[in-house]
Amino acid sequence: MGLRVFRLVSGRGGRVFKPATGCSPRERRASSAKRGAGLGIAPREIQDQELKKFCLRITGLLQKEDLGNETIDCLQRLFLIVSATKYYRKLEKKFVELLLSAMYFPKSPEQVQVLCAAILREISPSEDLTLFYDHIQNTKLLSLMSSVLLAQGNKRDEVRDVGLRVTKILESRQPEGQSLRYLLPVLSKVITLSPKVLKEDQINLLNKRLIDWLRYASIQQGVAQISGGFFSNPRARQPGPITEVDGAVATDFFTVLSVGQHYTEDQWLNMQAFSMLRKWLLYSGNDGTETPDSADDKSELEGSIMSMVSATSTSSRLLPPKERLRENAFEYCQRLIEQSNRRALKKPDCELQKACLVEAVIILDLLCRQDSSFMYRTLSCLKTLHGRLCGDLAYVQALLPVAQFFLNHSEAAAVDSEAVYQHLFTNIPSELFYNSMLAFEFIQFCRDNIHFFNGNLSIFKSSFPNLFKFLAWNSASLISEFVDILPVFIDASTAIEMLHVLLDLPCLTAALDLYLRSSFPTAEKPLWDPSLKPTSCLDGFRDPYHQALFQYLLRPKAKGFIKGLAPLHELLKPMAGCARVIQCAETVPILIQLFFTVVTEFADGTLINQLAVLLLGRSGLLFDVPQFKAAVHREMSSQLLVLCKLHPSLVVELSKELLEFTGTIRNIHSKENIFTHVVWAIGEYLSVLYDRRCTVELINKFFETLEALLFEITQFRPSATLPKCCPRVITVLMTTLTKLASRSQDLIPRVSLFLSKMRSFAQSPAMTSVYSEEDTETILTRATELMNLLKMPSVAQFVLTPSVEVSNPRYHLDTNTSLPLALQMASRLVEKEASLLSW
């Protein structure tokens, strides 16, 4: 197999990879710069033979214990060769062993070790790899080797081996001059990969170590490691106390938000321990059995209000290590919450405060899930925190875990947390819909808690117009998340408003854009498209005439439907071409489809009728975004059919609306797709078979309307000034007329006459100029078939309006072909009969 590797055009040396094409170095550099620096890559094949030779060269270097620049250079290239292809590059077993020993070799510079590890990891999983590391005391090297082992796919229980080895070192006395901090991430990875590695006593021991690191790290600063040289005065470098992020001297124990010039070993371990704390609590709290990080373990929590009330911080020293770790984690998180309220001197620390706050709240929630005795204390702490967060949008991300906590526990703790949800669902989406990270987390939060919301949290359901703001602004990134939560919002009471909201989604995007423009007119980094200057829209956004409409569009809660957003469509027209609006418009058909999948599962006749009327009405009231109308019309048409099929009486019950719709000739051109489907549905379902209320008068009424229409488009209108009517519309109209005639047989002569005229119509010069020969042929064939069919009224009725018993077991899967098939059959029968008669 020829294997490909990417060679750098402007690479150094070139001893291994020669240029694939002969261009000068300058040209190469130029092309490299042009394409974006560092990317001037061209593929070249490295043959196995060539690779072997190259490995031999490295072997030579390594055997000589030459660990200088040339070796490093070669190893870098080898790493590139093995990593740049997705196919497996075989390295000799002996060579692999050599790389291993170079990694172990005490004199190897760190760079060589790192490279060897990287190469070994890249070729993994590898069967030739056997690592012996029981004797290794160097924790840094051990961490490096673990990364190689953990990449092997755990075929030989490598994860367990690594886990045991690391635990052993963490348990024992710290090796001289070695730092344990390289091992904690390994432990964290091990418990992620394999949940059942550690035994109870090992977990207990590690619990104890974590307590020490988390709670009892030094509060004095570390000493600089590097000796200061000639001028250094050891007394001048007395380490001071640790400070808080705002510069004040620390008043309590060390945390990740404690600042010092230098850190001591235990302070490093404190940071590492907190970084893996959530993972560890989940792991050890579940006794090594894995449950997902969600509120599944409710049973543990229920029925323990007593213990919750009676629990105070009893002398935690007496508790077993697991409980003590929880106690310490609790205190740590509380301290972080307090520390995150300080004004950080440095911007990165300010960012860290936010991340810490989020983590602290998540851990508190986890602790309460694992042990309800924390609930009482956590509750008061988080209530205060929530008050603080409501006033400060900078920490808005922490509101989600806080709300999660209340969702998980407010029932058990018997507290009313309505205010928390109210604030979250009402204020946040309206104000921060443009924050894409928050939007993602918010929707994730909703998805994770669907089981809560499905209950009786009305606030969630009624906030859907607000949540759609996230989607309207971040449609490209959120659509796949949104399809998961959309079904929850849909019920009989919201369906109508929801469909309107979906159809108005691109309009909402434009309105949000205007909202941002008018709220932050002088923003340094505008959140909107700066190339677009919708002055007239902005004026409209502010004028009182449109204001009520905009307020309705930007409403935070569901409040029913108002008529007449049409003025907004007109006003917002200049924004219809805006990329964000177009992206949003593209998601609408998907959402409509999903909406109907959900709604048709529970909708009754009344709702179905309402939806059908809505579709017919809104088909003409859509924001004029390029291609949006066509796509939505397509979706509307197929959904109309679904509704008709589900509730065929619709055709009778909505006869007024349908007559009005089909009687408007404009609709043929502006909504061809929907029109065709409606006409077909009339032909299919306007029958006494589906609804006893279907009278002959009603059939005649429809017949007359459609006949007039067909007459108009075929006899009067074939002029060049009018857009031509798709042949499908004509054939569907003809078929529907025939179907209706077969049910009200007085109409048969009328329709036969009409159909017979089709030939002369098709041959008129006005028509031949508009329709291709193929189109004309199609129309005429259908006309002839229908005429033939009508010659035998009883057969026609059977074919065109089959009874349910006949039509239900449809032996051909494609329902669309059923009619043509039947028609052809009938046609042949008639022709045969005719020829027999004439014979």
């Binding site: 990417f6 750098l8 402007s10 690479g11 550099r29 490299s32 042009k34 974006g36 620096a37 560092g38 990317l39 890559i41 870098q76 990593s83 740049a84 997705k86 497996y88 510079p109 760079q111 490279l115 990287a118 990891r121 070729i123 993994s124 590898s126 961490s143 490096l144 990364s147 953990l150 990449a151 390994v186 990875k189 990969l193 990740v256 404690s258 600042v259 010092g260 230098h262 590492q272 970084s275 893996m276 993972k279 620390d349 960012e351 991340a355 810490c356 983590e359 991300q397 894409s436 990270m437 490209a476 990134s477 998340e481 498209d529 700066p530 190339s531 677009l532 805006c578 990329a579 992206q583």
Partner: protein, 202 residues
Amino acid sequence: MVHAFLIHTLSGSGQATGDATFCRVLYSQVFGSERLPDEPGPRGPERDRLLRKEQLLAVARQAETACKLLQQASGRPPTDLLPQSSDEPIPLQDAPSGVFRLRPGDPFQEAKVVVWLRLLSLGCALVCEPHENLLLAESTLRLLTRLLLEHLKLLSSGSNVLLRGDRIEAILNHFLPQGQLLFLNDQFVQALEKELSTSLAR
């Protein structure tokens, strides 16, 4: 916990010329291999490795698409894909970034969340476990990107990311050890940077 880190190319939107249209993974590191399903049939190491590589490419492609869509929505022209001058400092704070979710089985066995960041013509991405602290993941990604810029001269002409695997590895070993996101305050970052510089100095 982070499952993988990758650096990949981003083709300029609109410029469909030759190489630029393909999304390529320039560097990737997977932190510990994923638990694989017990499916019947032979599965050699080659196939496992191929799967891993394809998974990362799938992530890169999705990140590229997400990036393009974001770029489109912002309405800004794609001209800033190319560096004006290699000496100009890159405003990392403003670098476009985003996040998306990967459903279970597509392409990873379990669900993941990807945090990505665009750096002119390159993209960096962290593939995280679901429910990871995204604020921390995002700031870690920005930190890593800054370090990559500093230590690899990532975007200046003549720099070759591909031959500096060891530097990338060293940066990751210090700041994202085994894929562990670290709560590093600024002093910790400075201390680690010092350590990193010492280890990189040959």
